[in-house]
Amino acid sequence: MKRSGEKVIEYGLAFSGLVTILTTIGIIWVLISESWGFFREVSLADFLFDTEWTPLFTQKRYGILPLLSGTFLTTIIAIFTAVPVGIIIAVYLSEYAHKNFRQTVKPILEILAAVPTVVYGFFALTVVTPFLQSFIPGVGSFNALSAGIVMGIMIIPVISSLSEDALYSVPKSLREASYGMGATKFQTSFKVVVPAASSGILVSIILGIARAIGETMVVAIAAGQQPTLTLDPREAVETITAYIVQVSLGDVEHGSMEYKTIFAAGITLFFFTFLLNNVSFWIKKKYQEKYE
């Protein structure tokens, strides 16, 4: 009697685990089935190579390139902001800083990660954009630069904390050998420890990129909602995520072309983040426990 009860509980628990698998299947099924309808009306070639994205106008064009360029432009700006700062913080905290300093600073940096993204959007729009306008001519009130920089600040903790873990786990003997040769701390950090931890640092950067590509509210608020094919960071751009938000704010009827476009945009976004995540798993698996 007792034994059968135990089995019921075990199945109940396993079912809860299965929900996560159903979620994944659900996501893939939903994205594929709805964008299937989209691709029956728009050829893949148009989707990939047309240079205009105007599904909400009367003259409808369905080229994803402007949304992709917007996404990549803001992501690149974010990465150029976050990577140098994040890695320097990681090296400083792991190699230079006193233990107490490390323990006080880490939770404060974690606060940066806990702030809701809509708040970062407000920050980009009302503080960073006016600041940039004060010394860079031609910066619009919506622009890729401001959104990218703020997104960068937002992902600094992702990069610094993962990189620091990687640096910290490099065995002491390597550092001691380097000091024994007369190297300074700086030389030891950047010629011995950082190369030894490079796979972990790379993983942190890839996850940072994935985070920036999928980020929504900062770009929806500060980067604008005009799909323009441009690489000028002073201009307004629209990212994939911002487009989905823009359409969702209106009344979208199920089955309409607008409804299908957000799933086509969604599957494109999912493709990139899925790719980046799995590259990071692969790197982690391949280079893990090199020193043990």
């Binding site: 034994r3 685990g17 090296v91 230079y96 809509v118 708040v119 608020i221 969702s248 799933f263």
Partner: protein, 285 residues
């Protein structure tokens, strides 16, 4: 200048660059909070908390927004906590070596990297349309529950992993079954860690905007919800709506609402950190 001297100078210089970068994040945070306080603090009063939304900025309040956030928080907790903890127990205590557990584990790692807006698309199709829940509180809570499930599962596993085996063995030695051992020994011992994870996950849910916009939460809701099937808005969406308007008065409203939102998220994070510290100190296996 000799080589040695130069290398030492580089070393010292980097030290200051390091301190500078570390404080860059903190200074940004301060500027940021200071700026919001200056903009919004004077706007917060009792009327702001108890007024319905309005087209006139000076009359608009956040009553429907914060009650919506409270609803979403409660419903999401009811759905996500049992499921997340159960899945965590299964993976850690039952399925250590079996194939299903391995697949679930890989899958969770992948889900954690899916952008939140994609969950919105999932919720829109499955909960709003197929299950016909519409843009209701329930549809929003189900969507957010799926979003935070991986966080709760991982936290539960970590907390259970930290419980030493001797506790389980003592319980088995007394003739307890596996589930009795888990329910009476392992879970109480791991409760601090699990609770910390749950609170952090819920604080993430409170701050989410994009998935709720996608499932059709409204920006303008002129009544307080009284059932899970009602339409709703939440604080982040109200903020987004105000911030997207060109008028300065609405930006001020946005800043004021941000202060309330930040108080909620910081309080939740603070409680989580406090619990984590207390739990780590108290337990010494």
């Amino acid at each position: 200048m000799s080589n040695i001297q130069r290398n030492r100078n580089i070393d010292t210089a980097f030290k200051y660059v390091g301190i500078g970068c570390t404080f860059f994040g903190i200074v940004m945070l301060l500027i940021f909070i200071g700026n919001i306080l200056v903009d919004g603090l004077t706007r917060i009063d009792w009327d702001f908390l108890t007024n319905l939304p309005s087209r006139r900025a000076s009359k608009a309040g956040i009553l429907t927004a914060w009650t919506g956030t409270a609803w979403i928080l409660g419903l999401t907790a009811i759905i996500a906590i049992p499921m997340g903890v159960a899945a965590g127990i299964y993976l850690q205590e039952y399925g250590k070596k079996n194939r299903l557990a391995h697949i679930i584990e890989l899958n969770i790692a992948n889900l954690a990297g899916v952008p939140s807006i994609i969950y919105g698309l999932l919720g829109l199709e499955i909960f709003v349309r197929v299950m016909r829940l519409g843009g209701s509180l329930l549809a929003g809570a189900l969507t957010l529950a799926l979003l935070i499930l991986p966080i709760i599962i991982v936290a539960t596993r970590e907390a259970i992993k930290a419980v030493p085996n001797s506790l389980r063995e003592a319980s088995y030695g007394m003739g307890a079954t596996k589930w009795q051992t888990i329910w009476y020994q392992v879970l109480p011992a791991a409760s601090g860690g699990i609770l910390t994870g749950i609170i952090l996950a819920l604080s993430r849910a409170v701050g989410e905007t994009a998935p709720l916009i996608v499932i059709g939460a409204l920006a303008y809701v002129p009544f307080v919800a009284d059932s899970p099937m009602d339409e709703f808005t939440v604080l982040p969406i109200q903020i987004f709506n105000w911030v997207s308007r060109p008028q300065q008065e609405f930006l001020v409203n946005g800043a004021a609402a941000i202060i309330i939102l930040l108080i909620i998220t910081f309080a939740m994070n603070g409680i989580a950190v406090y619990l984590r510290n207390r739990w780590q100190k108290k337990v010494s296996w």
